[in-house]
């Protein structure tokens, strides 16, 4: 019974269980939506920006060599910001009940390619706390870098502030529902084909022809109740006639 499935048959199979596929799709989307809306703790993000630049007042012109050096420094700084030296001080200053390790996971440091600006983002269920941590981190970093590297080239470009329309970045409702929709669709189609594969019953005239090689004397549709209603009138006519 190994037979190639044509595209038409594929569509027919999907069409037949269309309701099932849609049901699974809607169900998974609803579950994903409900879970992200009601059960997942919203996570807020606060970002600060730091500019890494050598302060050399005597030199008025920008030197491309300097910029190059700064860029290379940034990679080092990125690591330093998230080092326990900085983070343990942040925890001390803010009296946080966390460890440097856990805090490390909340902080993301990014810098654009060939840019001297470094972004420090902090994620936390509490927006105020996220802002505090972000701001404290860059402050501590600015102080510490003086001691560590004996340079004074870190300027805080912008601090994290509370804004009215700050929305949690996680959970991303639309993204979650979108992912659920794709997964639901895959599961639905998967089940459809599984059912089709497991269903070894005779379905069409072609099946009989291939299996038995016997002629088909006729097709009989399911006798549904709709014929019951139609039957009443001609029946009474017959009775009157007879």
């Amino acid at each position: 019974m190994e037979e190639a499935i044509t595209l038409q048959e594929l569509f027919k199979i999907i069409k037949k269980r269309f309701v099932l596929i849609i049901t699974i799709l809607v169900l998974s989307m609803t579950v994903a939506g409900a879970v992200s809306y009601y059960y997942l703790t919203p996570i807020f993000q606060a970002s600060t920006q730091v500019l890494i630049n050598q302060k050399e007042f005597d030199q008025n012109q920008f030197n491309s060599q300097d910029i190059e050096t700064n860029l290379q420094l940034i990679n080092t700084y990125n690591v330093i910001i998230k080092s326990p030296v900085i983070l343990s001080k942040v925890i001390d200053n803010l009296n946080l009940k966390t460890t440097a390790d856990l805090l490390h996971k909340q902080i993301t440091v990014t810098s654009e390619q060939n840019s001297q600006v470094v972004n420090v983002s902090v994620e936390d269920p509490d927006l105020q706390k996220a802002i505090d941590i972000a701001n404290m981190t860059v402050k501590v970093f600015q102080e510490e870098i003086n001691l560590l590297m004996n340079v004074d080239n870190v300027n805080i470009l912008s601090l994290a502030v509370i804004t009215k329309d700050t929305k949690p970045i996680k959970p991303n409702l639309i993204l979650n529902i979108g992912i659920a929709a794709i997964i639901g669709l895959i599961i639905g189609i998967g089940i459809t084909f599984l059912l089709e594969y497991l269903d070894t019953s005779v379905k069409t005239e072609q099946d009989i022809g291939e299996l038995l090689g016997l002629p088909i004397l006729g097709l009989v549709s399911p006798i549904s109740n709709k014929y019951l209603k139609k039957t009443k009138e001609p029946k009474s006519h017959n009775r009157n006639g007879a």
Partner: protein
Amino acid sequence: MGHKFLFKRRKKIKPLARKLVTSSNPQSIISEQFRTVRTNIKFSMPNRELKTLLFTSSSIGEGKSTIAANVAIAFAQEGKKVLLIDADLRKPTMHYTFLKTITPGLTNLLTSYWNLNQVVKESGINGLDLITSGPIPSNPAELLELTSMDMLITEVKEKYDLIIFDAPPVLSVSDAQVLASKCDGTILVISSGSTEKVNVIKAKEVLQASYANILGTILNNYKIGKNHYYYQYYG
């Protein structure tokens, strides 16, 4: 009393109307399908006498009794004298379909001294008579194998143009095999979407092993697709 009687009758008429579409609603698509079946049966054996016809299926619940009854009606509507025999002595249904008493019936004919005239019942449809199963015996297969069965077939062949047997499923019991070897033609009823492919193949082998003349199959419960527009058009 009268009310009770009326109520009871109405309740029973419903399944009758549903099952015997060919008589209750001759204009319907399904009746047209049965007329097609009738034509195809006639054309399936153009040069051999076709007087006894057996309906069976691979397993239970595929609609053989309903189809046998409707095909019988279709032939009767054509003007033939048709006899429908409920040869399913294990789970007879014909008496329900036509609202008749189960006895006297086929088993009475085969085992005791009843004669055909006492047992044949009028179906209520012009040209169609029927024989119900009679009391359910303990050894149906042996009963059907008796010489009295052969005698009965010879007898009814003289009186009727067409005799249709409703038999039990092939795969569960041997009754259908016994009958199929005695009949001119056997029709295998297949229910679309529920009959297992393995079972139909086995059913065909079993029937061929008993020298049945398989005329063909009828695909029951087949949902008409858009490509079958002509049924809609003419029906």
